[in-house]
Structure formats: C-alpha cells, structure tokens
Symmetry: C2
Subunit: 144 residues, 2 copies
C-alpha cells in the first residue's frame, strides 16, 4: 500500500509537520517522492515509524535513533553495533520498568491514603491509620 503524508499522520497519530521533521532529521530515508514532489509512504515506512516510536518510548533521542538508521543503511558491517545498541536499550528498559514499579507502589500508597483522607475529611487523621502506616513503611517514609 501507498500512503500520503496525511494518511500516515492519521494512521500513526503524528502530525504531518512531525513526519516532515523526522524526514529532515534523517529518520525516514526510505520515503519516496512522486515526480511533482509529494511524499509517498509505504508499509515499510510505517514499520520504521513504529520502530521509531518504540525507540523513542524507551528513551532514545532522535539523534541516537538516526544513528541506528544510519547503521542499518551501511549494511552488515554494522551488525555488532546494532546488536550492542539493542542490548543497551534492553538494560535501560529493565531499569525503567523497575523504577516504574517503585513509583506504582508509591502512588498506590497515596491512593489508599487519600481515599481514607477524603472519607475522614482529614489527611492528618488518615495518617493515624495503622494499616496505612504499615504500607508507608513498606513503600518508604513520607508525609506529602
């Protein structure tokens, strides 16, 4: 299938502006153009956009994503670099997920605390609750 920039924008949730910006930054080197200059996206390009979303989602900068794309274009000589990059990103992602679990515990505690506080009309009083105090201990000291 072929897609115009507007169709891709709809499909991906990005704006046409952003797609052009990505292309200018070298992130979409495979997008074709018609004789009159209109961009034509293929399913392969959509696939690249999904990969870009993934790499952005794990915290890579557009600059580093471009590096990966450049390596891809250089061919099999850069296979080790690309492998190493993905290994680093996995490690990074593992740390991120661990962090998010800690944040989740903290936020769950807050939800329990504030649910009780709303019920009692007082944060002070909710804080007296022994179960909440125990949860706070588990999650880690706070007051806020």
């Amino acid at each position: 299938m072929r897609y115009s920039i507007g169709q891709v924008a709809k499909k991906t949730g990005l704006t046409a502006h952003t797609l052009r910006y990505y292309e200018k930054e070298g992130l979409l080197p495979f997008v074709q153009k018609t004789g009159s200059g209109l961009r034509v996206f293929s399913d392969t390009d959509i696939g690249w956009l999904e990969m870009i979303e993934c790499l952005k989602g794990v915290g890579m900068s557009l600059k580093d994503i471009k590096q990966y794309i450049d390596w891809f274009r250089e061919g099999d000589e850069t296979l080790p670099q690309r492998l190493e990059m993905f290994q680093q990103q996995r490690a990074h992602l593992e740390n991120q997920m661990e962090q998010l679990n800690k944040y989740m515990a903290k936020i769950n505690y807050k939800i329990h605390l504030y649910t009780e506080a709303v019920r009692l009309g007082s944060l002070e009083k909710a804080h007296q609750n022994k179960e909440l105090q125990a949860e706070q201990q588990r999650v880690y000291g706070d007051m806020f």
Copy 2:
C-alpha cells in the same frame, strides 16, 4: 538533619542549579533559609524531592507537580483533587507499563535477530531462521 544545597545535590543526583530552579518554580516551598540567605534543606524537603522524582518519572510536568504541591498547601479542602490526580497518574502509569512491555518484546526480538545476524554475518540470512520468523509474527511485522 539539615543539609546544604550541595549536600542535597549529592544525595539526590540533581545539581544545585536544578534545586534552585525547582525552588524558583515553586516546587520546594518548605526549604528554609539562614539569616545570611543560605538554603537549609530538611529530611522533609528530601522527601518532597523524592515525590517530585516519582511524579516526574510517571510523566508529570513540573507545572502539574506544582499544582499538587499548591493543593497540599491549601489543606484538606483539596483532598479530592489530590486523590483524583493520583488516580489519573496510576491509570497513566498502567498504560505506560503496558507500552514498555510491548517495547520489550520488540527489542528482545531484535536482540535475538541481531545475535543470529552477527553469528551468520548477514541480517538477510538471520531473517530466514524459522524460529525468528515465528517470534517476529508474535511480536509484530517488521524488517528493520
């Protein structure tokens, strides 16, 4: 315990510049000052910084974090707003974690693919591997 800005910087990994910036933005309204103008951080302030880290980590802007801190300062009238905020952040965090799991599956596939590609010296050939093709199907179509 009392801490200077430099000690807090060391403790938290933030720079003194960033701590002053946070204070200027209204995120640290409880930090004291000595007669001569030096900031004095307490353990409570460290606790706020940990909360700020958590909220930043789940994707909140400093502006929205400040809103929460302002609500806190307004007292028990704003308990419902704060509860709702934490509930929204939990929902957001759940989506985030789901996304990260998908990204992890994608990156794991890449690691398997590139490990094989490095072994064979060819991405093309690695792509022939039936097990990898099956994993790709599970994770979702790509080529990149």
